[in-house]
């Protein structure tokens, strides 16, 4: 196949580098273009308009715009095997060597698409199809066909590009920046603002989403000489001089390829800078994009205006383009978007595009103006150029399959109207210009309707935000420059700087004459007059929504999906609002506009995540024993940010066998357990005891030095939120443990009370979680294991009974030793400074091995504590459980503590509250499912109330049968009663029991 040439490239002109030719592919076909092209301009240079299928109806769509507002030409970019970026606007992609793009939402191919067959899809997608079609017709009911057949079909038919399946191979970076003035948009207004502010001495950041600064100036006709300079310096030269001045100023940072995608509170802005996407083969190590988070003292918004489409039947055919875009392709890229162009317009600015085309040799048979009364300089210029102008035209429709072939219209004087089909391969349309007030609105400005401009314009001043140029409603170059300079000066003055710069007079080399306001939008309901091209919303959809009773523009937007998704209504918002207003018989000003949400254009997740991915997404906390456990091939589980050793399986063991062996060994000999993740808080000060007494249910004021107490923490509502051990090391010093997950929360809560409520108390709280490594030794041989290693502390049963705490040395290392047990066995918890914990662990583990002991993990720990009915807060409790529910008496403590008053609420005293109980399945081999409901009936009726639920369930090796804990209504008075766990496989009978399954008298504990 011969390589297609750039048939539609002009002979000269434009900002492309014609000396170099680069090759690229679209849908597998090879084309050529030049540096400076976008993918869109290069495709148009090769005569390719038809580049995609529409979202719902799979209609052929072409390139409509020349900027980031493009709703149709969304393509997938392929870079190598791993890089696949869907839904990129062809108008935004800078052409580079080897670029490969494919079209979207078509099958099997763009030209022969199954989904487009004579509009078979249309009935599936009326306005509100999310709520209508997805629910299924009522007669289908819960029939499986709907969710399994039709819904997937619809979901497959409607769509954009596919998300890449492989991991993103690129990396992204971020930067925080502060500046005096952030200028958004580097068109004439933005450049003028930046010049004035920088000259006054401000630090300035100027960003623009395009590669080249200059905005619309770049699309103006450049005769190549300075022309008549009597009115001032030529605007193209002014642009070059301004850029040079900014680049030479050290206070100025220029950010091309950078989209300001969102405005946040207090002049905080999000910017996405593209670093690698415009390189054919990016240098290795170059980040793909950079996220800038900029805090600016003052902001100048110079975001310009977006031309809007006209609404007529068949306005979406490939070859129908915005007039300004056609002009931009011609003057900026040297591309004639067609050979025979018809202009359909209701504003003056499109006349300039017609004149430029004509001058370049494109046949322009007709400018069809929808307005009945036209006149003025722009119109005269077109007529002088030899273009026929018809006023009062009514566009009836278009023809063409993959490219427009003619426009049907009604024209002529009243009484002698005639219908005419005008053959063409290009239609320029213009319905006026819509100022881009997105960022102004996100900065909490309130745009208000201007009848003269036929647009919403910034009105309420937002402190430290200055709108300038097209987004503020200026309509020509002179106004834009003046408005930009004034905004730059206002920003500088707000910073306390003196403004000296003269506002330069600049001659517009190519003035666009006349009004850019456009006429009020009127269009009859039609199934192919498109309002929102990206979301396939037609005038009929808007009509349907208003007929079905929707009044609020926000509801109409959501019901019809207009202005949603990645497009955010850049080309559609105005037309939607105006049409809805007409259909509702209200003023546009009353109907108002919808929210302008960030991001302005889509931002990749990688840019937002920056370096916070993989292992850097969240810090992983490892205990001092972690490396040892990994070397022993332990399995691990995530507990908050911690990873904890779960089991230590021997070679031949599976997980369950490992748990059973670890538990039995603890009960028969001993086990060593890494408890370092326990939250630990040191409470020190003269009032430490009083403070803790107020923070916990358990009485702690009179706790003796050298003793520990199990303590429940409540919130003010009386519910259990944490538990732990409080140990008194000295009269004014306590070592408090919390749950692993509760460490930060408990410390914050205690700080809160200490700082804001119990201000009469003096003590200090210090997190010591990571200061101490904790090694638990549990089991009948625990004392034998430890005794030979310990110095300076007598741990005999008589002098160091259960719930003792003391200090001493273990293998020469200072330690805090607790005699506590979470297994029901004789137990100790050794606290040693973390950096010694690994060494001590190994000594203890070797000693344990000599006594027939083992190491055990969190699964065994959970099982061992359940055999004794010890709760896990957050597992057996859920924030609605009181101490009484768990079987703890609360009446003994007379002084006030957090949660005490709430415990006296009538609801807290009811006898049918859920109580902690034991549950024994009648089949002792059956382990219940945690979370399963408990009912009185074996097969309860639908809607029957459950009596409670299972919270913990295990196979107990010590008991040789399954055990479970649960919460059951009034359960403490119901021991022995039979309940059922209704499961899909049939009901399971269980008996309520005491939650204490083993060693009820505590002989092992006190051994």
């Amino acid at each position: 196949m011969s390589r297609p040439t750039q048939r539609f490239r002009t002979a000269a002109g434009g900002r492309i580098a014609r000396a170099r030719t680069i090759s690229f592919q679209f849908d597998g076909r090879r084309y050529t273009g030049h540096p400076g092209d976008t993918l869109a301009s290069a495709l148009l240079a090769n005569g390719v308009h038809f580049v995609g299928r529409s979202f719902k109806y799979h209609r052929p769509r072409g390139i409509m715009t020349a900027g980031s507002e493009e709703p149709n030409a969304l393509v997938t970019i392929l870079q190598g095997r791993d890089r696949q970026t869907p839904n990129v606007r062809a108008t935004d992609i800078e052409l580079c060597e080897g670029l490969a793009a494919i079209s979207q939402n078509r099958w099997p191919s763009l030209a022969f698409d199954a989904g487009a067959l004579s509009g078979v899809l249309a009935p599936l997608f009326p306005a509100g199809f999310y709520y209508k079609t997805f629910m299924g017709p009522r007669f289908i009911g819960s029939n499986w066909l709907w969710p399994k057949l039709f819904e997937p079909l619809i979901r497959r038919a409607a769509g954009l590009g596919r998300a890449p399946a492989s991991r993103d191979p690129d990396h992204y970076v971020n930067r925080y920046a502060h500046c005096d003035v952030l200028v958004v948009g580097a068109g004439p207004a933005g450049l003028a603002a930046a010049l004035v502010a920088a000259e006054a001495g401000a630090t300035v950041i100027v960003s623009d989403e395009r590669t080249e600064f200059g905005g619309n100036l770049l699309s103006a006709f450049d005769a190549g000489h300075d022309g008549d300079l009597s009115a001032g310096v030529n605007a193209h030269r002014w642009r070059e001089q301004s850029l040079a001045a900014l680049a030479a100023n050290a206070r100025v940072t220029l950010l091309p390829h950078t989209t300001v995608f969102g405005a946040y509170l207090q002049n905080f802005y999000g910017l996405a800078e593209r670093l690698a996407s415009h390189h054919g083969s990016p240098p290795p190590g170059l980040p793909r994009e950079r996220l800038w988070q900029v805090r600016a003292q003052e902001v100048v918004l110079a975001t310009g205006a977006i031309e809007r489409p006209l609404v007529f039947s068949g306005n979406d055919r490939p070859g129908v383009m915005l007039a300004g875009a056609v002009r931009s392709y011609l003057n900026r890229y040297g591309v004639m978007a067609g050979s025979r162009a018809v202009v359909v317009t209701d504003c003056d600015t499109s006349y300039a595009a017609a004149c430029d085309l004509k001058r370049s040799g494109v046949d322009v048979p007709l400018i069809a103006d929808l307005r009945s009364d036209v006149g003025g300089a722009a119109i005269d210029a077109a007529k002088q150029a030899g273009i026929t102008v018809e006023a009062g035209v009514n566009v009836l429709g278009t023809t063409g399959r993959h490219r427009i072939t003619s426009v049907l219209m009604e024209l002529g004087p009243a009484g002698a109207r005639e219908r005419r089909a005008v053959p063409c391969d290009l239609v320029l349309m213009s319905g006026g210009w819509t100022p881009s007030v997105h960022l102004y609105s996100q900065a909490r400005g309130k745009p208000s309707w201007s009848e003269g401009a036929q647009a919403f314009l910034p009105s309420d001043p937002v402190p430290h935000v200055h709108s300038a140029g097209g987004c503020a409603g200026t309509t020509d170059l002179e106004q834009a420059l003046r408005s930009g300079a004034e905004a730059g000066a206002a920003a500088a003055r707000a910073l306390g700087l003196t403004v000296s710069a003269e506002i330069m007079t600049v001659a517009d080399p190519d003035p666009v004459l006349g009004s850019r306001a456009g006429a009020p939008v009127m269009a009859p309901p039609s199934a192919d007059a498109f309002i929102d091209f990206q979301n396939d919303v037609t005038t009929r959809d808007i009509q349907l929504a208003t007929q079905e009773g929707f009044r609020s523009i926000e509801h109409i937007k959501r019901y019809t999906t207009t202005g949603m998704a990645t497009d955010q209504g850049k080309t559609s918002n105005h037309n939607t609002i105006a049409l809805a207003a007409g259909m509702l018989g209200r003023d546009v000003a009353v109907v108002g506009h919808t929210s302008y949400r960030a991001p302005f254009t889509p931002v990749t997740f990688g840019t937002l995540a920056t370096t916070a991915r993989g292992s850097l997404f969240e810090p992983l906390r490892r205990t001092p024993i972690d490396a040892w456990a990994r070397a022993e091939r332990a399995t691990f589980e995530d507990v908050g940010q911690w990873q904890r050793a779960r089991t230590f399986p021997l070679r031949s063991e599976n997980q369950q066998q490992s748990i059973q062996r670890e538990c039995l060994t603890v009960r028969c000999a001993a086990g060593v357990f890494d408890a370092s993740t326990l939250g630990k808080i040191e409470v020190v000060g003269p009032d430490a005891a009083t403070f803790l007494d107020r923070m916990y249910l358990s009485p702690l004021a009179k706790l003796a030095v050298g003793r520990c107490r199990y303590a429940l923490q409540l919130n003010e509502a009386g519910f259990v939120i944490d538990d732990g051990i409080v140990a008194r090391l000295a009269p004014d010093r306590f070592h408090v443990t919390t749950t692993t997950g509760g460490a930060q929360r408990v410390l914050t809560l205690m700080e809160d009370y200490l700082q804001t409520e119990f201000t009469d108390l003096t003590c200090w709280l210090t997190s010591i979680t990571e200061h101490w490594g904790v090694i638990a030794v549990q089991g009948p041989r625990a004392r034998d294991i430890l005794e030979p290693l310990i110095a300076g502390l007598d741990i005999s049963a008589a002098t160091f009974p259960h719930m003792s705490v003391g200090t001493g040395e273990i293998a020469g290392v200072p330690m805090r030793l607790f005699r506590v047990s979470f297994t029901g066995e004789l137990g100790f918890e050794i606290n040693v400074p973390s950096n010694y914990a690994r060494d001590i662990w190994e000594l203890v583990e070797q000693s344990a091995e000599r006594h027939g002991g083992t190491v055990y993990g969190t699964d065994a720990m959970h099982l061992l504590r359940a055999e004794k009915g010890y709760i896990l807060v957050g597992h057996d409790t859920d924030g609605t459980v009181t101490p009484e529910d768990l079987g703890f008496g609360t009446g003994a403590k007379k002084v006030d503590f957090v949660g005490k008053r709430a415990l006296a609420r009538p609801d807290m005293l009811k006898s049918d509250r859920l109580h902690l109980v034991g549950l024994l399945a009648e089949d002792p081999q059956h382990v219940l499912e945690e979370g399963a409901q408990l009912t009185q009936a074996a097969s309860p009726a639908n809607g029957a109330r459950a009596d409670g639920h299972v919270t913990s369930a295990y196979m107990s090796p010590a008991l040789g049968r399954s055990i479970a804990l649960g919460l059951v209504a009034g359960g403490r008075a119901r021991h022995g009663e039979r309940l059922f766990v209704p499961m899909p496989s049939g009901p399971i009978a269980v008996r309520i029991s005491t939650p204490l399954f083993l060693d009820a008298k505590g002989a092992r504990l006190h051994g």
């Binding site: 946040y264 509170l265 207090q266 905080f268 988070q293 805090r295 909490r444 003010e716 509502a717 914050t748 700080e751 809160d752 700082q755 804001t756 409520e757 201000t759 006030d896 005490k900 008053r901 709430a902 006296a904 609420r905 009538p906």
Partner: protein
Amino acid sequence: MLLIPCPYCEEPRPEIEFRYGGEAHIARSADPTGLSDAALADYLYFRSNPKGWHYERWQHQSGCGRFFNAVRHTVTDRIIGTYKAGEPKPDLALYRVRAGS
């Protein structure tokens, strides 16, 4: 992201250093056992939830760790002033004069 002036550190710091703490000036009773059930419910669960200026608690968790109060507008998120825990509710009018609005 808000910039919040910490009254203890005496400088504005980014919002990510802070933790929100709910409505301010809801004091715990000195004698909770004397509270009626209705007064307890009010203390535990009822908040003013205004559209406008809101006195609220913040903790400079990743900074000095102190709890303090702020006056924030719930529509604009503007923080008009901050003050130390335990200080009386400031007069809004004074703040607005000082802030020039």
